[in-house]
């Protein structure tokens, strides 16, 4: 099996994640989308490392997984704080970035 199916899988997962991030109203759903995009990247790294015969990509993936875990924890913490102050976790109510 060649490199291409892995890359296609990765691209599909990435697009699903991006779709989730841009369309989910619930903030937690957005976080899940971000996780999917991260994993798409991981698939890419592992596949390319395997086909290039270099282990650096695999090592890097382990790091990424660790960071993803902490990022998920942080994201959930932010969502909880958001709920406490704004009483909502719906993304279309959160337009604090508007000047």
């Amino acid at each position: 099996m060649g490199l291409q199916p892995y890359l296609i899988l990765s691209a599909v997962v990435f697009c699903i994640g991006l779709f989730g991030v841009t369309t989910r109203r619930n903030t937690i759903g957005i976080l899940l989308g971000v996780e999917l995009m991260m994993n798409a990247v991981n698939i890419n790294l592992v596949a390319l490392a395997r086909f290039n015969g270099s282990s650096a990509g695999m090592v890097f993936t382990v790091f990424t997984i660790c960071i993803t875990v902490t990022e998920a924890a942080l994201g959930l913490a932010i969502v909880i704080l958001l709920f406490r102050t704004r009483r909502t976790v719906m993304a279309d109510h959160l337009d604090l970035l508007k000047g």
Partner: protein, 627 residues
């Protein structure tokens, strides 16, 4: 005492600078007025002593002393030096400048005794700066320093004409003088830059040796000399730039004596004397110089005949005499012109200071307010008549020989036209000057001396005219004695002129002068000829002269139409084109910014979506367009 004349002239040059710096920087001292004035006089005395010493040494050694420091170095070579060049002409000029400057400063102490102390201090600041600049001009070893000092004396002239700046007419005259001379100065600057491009240097001595050895390319030199002549025209009040000089009489009378008679206005003549070898290469320009000089002499003499203001008569007479000098230079006799510059400097300063003494006594500039002053002010009358005889070219007086030399040189130079004009002007000169003498010093005294509002607004009531104080009389007598001494000395030791003038020249020139005096006596002295009927004979000319031949109006019209018209066009372009483009751009920025504000929703998902679309567009671009 064979000290280096270079060092001595440097001392003479820097003493007024010292006085200027002290008076300008030490405010409390300047505001004291009189002590500041005496300090300035002291420095001027030192400068005069040094100048005379330098002249004596220079006349013995007859070897130009060059003392310069590099200035504006580039590539290890000095583009222009700054320093002094002490040769025969510059040291004599230095003597004249420092002498008249000293006497005028001394005279001003008496003349301006009513001024508030602070204003008097300011006056002496300007006087010192002027002395420094004028000496720098006379001593300049290169044309760049000369130009710098040239502008500085122009500035001093502006400041001193506008000394009574509260008077609108004085402020206006100052600006007029500044602008009109500036118009000529532009030509001078262009000429000097072109000359330095052609010769590769500003140094007068170097350019002279290039001309002498014939290495200076002659092609295009006429434009250069004409441009230099333009500067001289502005400064030396040649037609049509002469209009500023009569108005410059708004300044205090001692200032008129120093700047607008003896020294600054002769700077143009001096410049041409300094560069006569250059002008000798361009005979066509010399011809222009001669004709304009003669025309100026005639025009100003006619104008002087109808003036009632004593200072304006003298001002037009100065313009006329400057025309004489210019004609001599145009005829190739720069030495004669320079000689007349020196004698004219002495007797015209004398005449102005004498007029100042009269004005001081009667508190008016107008001849009808004077009359019969010889009985009340015998000393002033005596020195004024000495000056007048000198100006009229009567033998044994200072102006006689220099005038003779100019007439002889113009005749020898093969210019019969200007010669005839100058001969006629000699007659007119004697006439208008003795008109002043008879009106001011003889005849019946005017009933009301000085109605209030005339003169300088001193606010004095009517009083008997009397002799001025000794600080004013002393300079008058010194100048009168020097004028006589120069005349007698050169009459006795008359060197042979290069081209012997024809035998009929002297009698006819003196005859023209005597005829003028006679006519003035018959008209204004014995009243045999009625002045009104004499005026009636020249009806149209007289009314034209009273309107100054409309030259001022023409210049003003040209100024209004050309300059203001041009300014209006430029103003329109600035207001509607330049500003318009800027306003459109800024309005656009506002509108577009306002519209684009709508896409900033503040929702993170919209931004992520935009980023995604952006990446997609970039990828497509890379695939399809830049593949």
């Amino acid at each position: 005492m064979m000290a280096n004349p270079g060092t001595i002239v440097l001392i003479a040059w820097l003493l007024p600078a010292l006085s200027f710096l002290v008076l300008a920087l030490v405010f409390p001292f300047r505001r004291l007025g009189r002590p500041a004035a005496w300090f300035s006089v002291l420095c001027a005395t030192g400068a005069f002593a040094a100048a005379v010493m330098a002249w004596r040494i220079q006349s013995v050694s007859a070897h130009p002393a060059h003392l310069v420091w590099p200035w504006l170095t580039s590539d290890g070579r000095s583009i222009a030096d700054v320093g002094v060049l002490a040769d025969a002409e510059s040291t004599i000029m230095l003597c004249l400048v420092s002498l008249v400057s000293l006497l005028v400063q001394l005279y001003s102490i008496g003349y301006l005794h009513d001024e508030p102390p602070a204003a008097l201090g300011r006056y002496y600041v300007y006087q010192s700066l002027f002395a420094f600049s004028m000496m720098g001009l006379a001593l300049a070893p290169n044309l760049l320093q000369l130009f710098m000092c040239w502008e500085l004396v122009g500035l001093c002239s502006y400041l001193l004409i506008g000394y009574w700046y509260q008077k609108p007419s004085a402020a206006r005259a100052a600006v007029k003088a500044f602008w009109i001379t500036k118009a000529g100065d532009v030509g001078l600057l262009i000429g000097l830059v072109m000359l330095s491009r052609q010769a590769g240097t500003f140094d007068i001595t170097e350019i002279h040796s290039m001309v002498a050895s014939g290495t200076l390319p002659v092609a295009g030199l006429s434009i250069i000399t004409f441009c230099i002549y333009l500067g001289a025209m502005g400064k030396s009040a040649q037609f049509p730039f002469h209009v500023w000089l009569p108005d410059a009489m708004e300044g205090p009378t001692p200032v008129s004596a120093l700047i607008h008679a003896a020294t600054m206005v002769t700077a143009g003549v001096y410049l041409l004397v300094r560069t006569e070898w250059l002008f000798a290469l361009t005979p066509d320009v010399l011809l222009i110089v001669a004709w304009i000089g003669a025309f100026t002499a005639l025009l100003a003499a006619v104008l002087a005949c109808v003036q009632d203001d004593i200072k304006r008569v003298l001002a037009y007479s100065t313009v006329s005499q400057l025309g004489y000098m210019m004609t001599a230079i145009g005829a190739g006799a720069a030495a004669a012109g320079f000689f007349h510059l020196l004698t004219h400097g002495l007797f015209k300063a004398l005449l102005f200071l004498g007029a100042g003494s009269v004005i001081h006594a009667v508190r008016s500039n107008d001849l009808p307010d004077m009359g019969g002053l010889a009985r009340r002010m015998p000393q002033t009358a005596t020195v004024f008549i000495i000056g007048t005889l000198s100006l009229a070219g009567i033998p044994l007086f200072g102006g006689y020989l220099s005038k003779e030399e100019i007439l002889g040189a113009v005749w020898a130079g093969g210019l019969p036209g200007p010669f005839a004009v100058l001969m006629f002007v000699a007659f007119l000169t004697a006439f208008y000057m003795f008109r002043v003498v008879f009106l001011a010093f003889f005849g019946a005294p005017a009933m009301a001396h000085a109605a209030a509002g005339h003169g300088h607004g001193h606010g004095h009531g009517a009083h008997e005219p009397h002799e001025p104080p000794v600080t004013m009389l002393l300079p008058l007598w010194i100048l009168a004695i020097l004028t006589m001494a120069v005349g007698v000395y050169f009459t006795l030791n008359h060197g042979e002129a290069e081209a012997a003038p024809p035998a009929w020249l002297t009698p006819s020139a003196v005859g023209a002068g005597v005829a003028g005096i006679l006519l003035a006596w018959l008209t204004y002295g014995s009243r045999t000829i009625d002045a009104a009927s004499l005026a009636g004979m020249f009806g149209p000319i007289r009314s034209a002269a009273l309107a100054k031949f409309w030259i001022d109006d023409v210049i003003e019209g040209v100024f209004n139409v050309v300059l203001l018209g041009f300014s209006r066009v430029v103003g329109w372009v600035d207001r509607y084109l330049v500003d318009g483009v800027l306003n459109v751009v800024s309005a656009w920025t506002l509108v577009v910014g306002d519209d684009l504000r709508g896409i900033q929703t503040g929702k993170a998902q919209d931004y992520v979506f935009s980023v995604g679309v952006g990446v997609l567009v970039l990828v497509l671009l890379m695939r399809l367009v830049f593949a």
